[in-house]
């Protein structure tokens, strides 16, 4: 398996508080990695440092042979264009229709003027349609994104990310706001579509049972450090308990619930990454 992402001694501190304390990991193409850990463990911080939505305090990130931690401006945008991301709250543009939301995945690959007039190439349009068909949303393609259900929105989110033709896909709690059935649908699509394309997928999850079912590799994070890294079979109930100890109530029950809170709200509010367009 080809290594496409290496994280080395990654640290992130907020003032005196260390959210990540020196994380080193290698990721390979075709892997479906699930990162588990209690709320506040640093899962979001880790995933957001990888595509530099957050600037790490120190450490190295090598993606596809390029050092991301030093990239800036146009160079950084070019790299980000090759990394898909999906979010807990889907983050679609609600007043824009579904197919355009999917095509947004091409923005990083085209100049502003072309995108302004919606001049996506025919190949891109066809691919967007094919993706929607594959994920079962072709009928909704001209609907406004805010008219969809949560599960449908997340599927559009997956299409937008895959539209980037990424080699790496990051997912931060993609099913935390979904009911169990939609959660399963979303995870099935995510797993199948990334597997078929040989994409490395890193997913943050709260639910240990989902992690066991889908992951090809589980990484346990606690207090900003990796405390488990191995196959799902090796991730025992005792191990899970140890990771979540002192965290929230019984993660082993773990069915998707709407009470799950993630750290993204303040992260979104406070993150000021280094690109010159930080505020947007």
């Amino acid at each position: 398996m080809e290594t496409i992402l290496s994280v080395r001694a990654l640290r992130k501190s907020y003032g005196a508080f260390e959210a990540l304390r020196g994380v080193s990991l290698d990721f390979h193409s075709g892997e479906f990695v699930v990162v588990v850990g209690p709320s506040g463990a640093g899962k979001s911080t880790l995933i957001r440092c990888i595509n530099r939505m957050i600037d790490p305090s120190s450490g190295g990130i090598e993606f596809d042979g390029v050092r991301l931690e030093r990239a800036r401006g146009a160079e950084l945008r070019k790299r980000r264009a090759k990394i898909g991301m999906i979010f807990q709250h889907y983050n679609l543009i609600g007043r824009t229709n579904v197919i355009k939301n999917v095509l947004h995945g091409r923005l990083g690959h085209m100049p502003f003027i072309k995108s302004l007039f919606g001049l996506y190439s025919m190949a891109d349009r066809l691919r967007a349609v094919a993706l929607l068909e594959e994920i079962g949303l072709l009928e909704q393609k001209y609907k406004r994104a805010d008219e969809l259900s949560g599960g449908q929105m997340q599927r559009v989110g997956i299409c937008r990310a895959l539209m980037q033709e990424p080699r790496l896909l990051l997912a931060d709690e993609p099913i935390a706001s979904l009911d169990p059935r939609s959660a399963e649908t979303v995870m099935n699509h995510l797993k199948r579509m990334t597997e078929q394309r040989g994409i490395c997928c890193i997913v943050n999850l709260h639910q240990v049972d989902f992690a066991r079912r889908y992951a090809s590799r589980i990484i346990g994070v606690k207090s900003g450090a990796v405390v488990f890294d191995g196959k799902p079979e090796e991730f025992t109930a005792d191990m899970a308990r140890a990771i979540y100890e002192g965290g929230e109530a019984d993660p082993l029950r773990g069915a998707a619930g709407d009470s799950v809170s993630d750290g993204t709200d303040y992260i979104e509010a406070a993150a000021t990454p280094g690109g010159e367009y930080a505020a947007v």
């Binding site: 146009a74 980000r80 302004l116 505020a279 947007v280």
Partner: protein, 257 residues
């Protein structure tokens, strides 16, 4: 539930204080409320005798001025909404990451917001003399601050995640602005702009009274020439115009979602 003694004392003190202020105001102005009440019948009599029935005979000659007034409001709203858009995006955190620039723009907008249209008009007439352009400028300056701040607040209300998602796709700043923020911003943009149109229609009527163009000047002139019935016809037409604008604006609002 009974209020505690302490809060009752507080309430009583507040009420007494308020009454004292009102009495002081009337005393200072040497206005006797009894005189006001007695003046009502006299005023009503004068109004009925002189203003009614309204004289619509020369209304046709006022049509160009009325049109000018409406176009003032439309043009003023147009220009100020575009300027305010730039200004608003300078103020909002979503669109401007340079804190000092953001704060400066905010201060400038607040200053503008607190200067009424009529003050602008008076000032501009004093500087540039009587004329239509002066009225337009006054309308623009008068609504610029309010609009800029409202736009900025609406932009701040767009969830950060939307822009973040496009940033994660590798989109550039203008792409994030046009594909992510503007679509989400359009409803509030239209809403606030319509609101400022309502303000501007009202203001443009009054602007004429200080010589800044529009129909206001004729209301003023007719009153000065004691042509009350003619002035009345104008007042009726202008009131109808304002009501119609409001009606139209509400229709547009309802259709927009």
């Amino acid at each position: 539930m009974r209020l505690s003694d302490k809060s009752r004392v507080k309430n009583a003190a507040a009420a007494l204080g308020l009454i004292a202020v009102i009495v002081a105001a009337f005393t200072y102005l040497k206005v006797n409320p009894r005189d006001i009440l007695l003046a009502v019948p006299r005023f009503a009599g004068f109004f009925v005798r002189n203003f009614l029935p309204p004289d619509f005979s020369s209304l046709a000659s006022y049509i160009p001025l009325i049109a000018e007034t409406i176009f003032f409001a439309l043009a003023g709203t147009c220009v100020s909404s575009l300027l305010a858009l730039v200004f608003g995006f300078l103020i909002s955190e979503r669109t401007n990451s340079i804190a000092p620039l953001r704060h400066t723009a905010r201060v400038v907008a607040s200053v503008f917001r607190n200067i009424p249209v009529m003050v602008w008009a008076a000032l501009l007439v004093y500087i540039f003399g009587i004329g239509s352009l002066v009225g337009l400028c006054a309308l623009v300056l008068g609504t610029l601050g309010l609009l800029a701040r409202s736009y900025a607040e609406s932009a701040d209300g767009i969830p950060a995640g939307k822009a973040e998602a496009l940033r994660a796709c590798g989109a550039s700043y203008p792409q994030i602005l046009f594909h992510g923020l503007l679509p989400e911003f359009i409803p509030s943009w239209v809403n606030w702009t319509l609101f400022s149109l309502e303000i501007n229609i009202r203001a443009s009527v009054i602007l004429g009274m200080v010589g800044a163009g529009g129909i206001g000047i004729m209301v003023q002139t007719n009153l000065r020439l004691f042509k009350y019935a003619e002035a009345m016809s104008l007042i009726i037409v202008l009131t109808a115009m304002i009501l119609l604008t409001e009606l139209a604006v509400n229709q547009i609002r309802r259709r927009l979602k």
